[in-house]
Subunit: 225 residues, 2 copies
DNA sequence: GGAATAGTGTCTGTGAGACACTATTAG
DNA sequence: CTAATAGTGTCTCACAGACACTATTCC
């Protein structure tokens, strides 16, 4: 019943690496900057892939165990595979990004990515790659990661985008650019100072991305090879 | 000397997956369409990662052994990790893209991606992802994969871009768009019919990409984690 | 009214797309 | 000359950036 190759051996008779996952969990605290979750202030949460486990699930488990975080939708970035990258042995790591609203982060240690200290291993590179990926996404859709509860004002969305981008975005240009991706609820925000702002939701046709640079692979359930 | 975890066990005492690589090798035959290398007409070349081997090297080895191809610069696409994707056992696969001038392909079986037959496993998805990645790259630089020997005419570059894009590209718009990324050699093409065309090389500042959507990770030697 | 915020009119520059024109060669 | 290809002038449209204006609310 068991598979054997042309030498009569099973797969287990050949050397195999340990496979790890390491994850940059990014968020934007209300009114704050883009931040990342760190463990011990110098590394990202990670773990080893268990048998019968998907990479996504290993990520979610590592976030739960190492940082008491309820993750959402971890996304692969790339594999780090240098042969000497881990002194414990032969370990390759699949770097991930997850974006999580701040209220799911409990008391995890958040550090603004603009003030990132030197991290262990290649974790600084992972954060860089994660930030660039998130910026691409937010340049292409109003709130692809659902960081803002709907409905929201354009003011709140504008601030979120500025936090993600790490720079000022012109108010009127931003408004005109994003407006067609939104749908007005007809309601107005109450309780603030100044002219009440309209409330908006994300138009269903733009929940994901405005422009699809590459095909969205998330539809591939990947359950059969 | 050997590493032991808090349970006194080595990494080898835990179950580990076999790690495979599968690669979409793309090329454009002179004057032809964008094509992919297939084995048996229904799958991509691939192999298992060996101990002490980088993913890139496993890819190059698989191309050499399975398709008699001298690969160039394999690039990671993503990891496929469905637990049942391979009936031989627990196998995850790192999908790759490599782009190789047609003269290095010897007598490999080339199939136009526009007429791709159904492939085994998830290999159709890998080809799709590889094609989209290559189109992004060629939309951003004159010849990032070096498919065209320098110096070249704008006519030849135009045809290459149309082959990669899989559609017509307006001649004058293309010319104006790409011209500043090139440098004229001062020479002219000889032997053709019609007005002789200028010869160009790629300006050194545009060898890679015109626009960097995400940071180019190739600079990270990744030799230390 | 004054402060604060929401929302818009409009000018400018840039660049893609499109069309048609001119330029230079071989034969 | 004609055929064929190289290369350009120019119009249009869309849109980002920028500035300043108007609109509506709370106090």
């Amino acid at each position: 019943m068991e598979y054997r190759d042309s030498h009569g051996r099973t797969l287990e008779e050949y050397p195999r690496p340990s496979v790890a996952v390491d994850t940059a969990v990014l968020t934007v605290p209300p009114g704050g900057e883009l931040t990342v979750v760190l463990i011990d202030g110098r590394r990202l949460p990670g773990t080893f892939l268990h048998q019968g486990e998907r990479l996504q699930d290993a990520v979610l488990r590592s976030l739960r165990e190492k940082a008491a975080i309820v993750g959402l939708r971890p996304q692969q970035l790339r594999v780090f595979d240098a042969t000497d990258r881990d002194d414990r042995g032969w370990v390759i790591s699949v770097a991930h990004l997850d974006v999580v609203p701040v209220d799911r982060l409990a008391n995890a240690a958040l550090v603004p990515v603009a003030e990132l200290p030197p991290l262990l291993y290649d974790h600084s590179h992972i954060v860089e790659l994660a930030v660039a990926t998130l910026r691409d996404e937010y340049a292409a859709a109003p709130d692809p990661r659902g960081l803002l509860p709907e409905p929201f004002t354009l003011r709140a969305l504008h601030r979120l985008h500025q936090s993600v981008a790490g720079r000022e975005l012109q108010r009127d240009t931003f408004r005109r650019g994003v407006l067609e991706q939104l749908v007005a609820t007809g309601e107005k925000e109450t309780g603030g100072v100044g002219k009440p702002a309209q409330l908006f939701g994300v138009r269903s046709s733009h929940r994901a991305r405005r422009y699809v640079a590459r095909p969205d692979m998330s539809e591939y359930t990947d359950d059969a090879r």
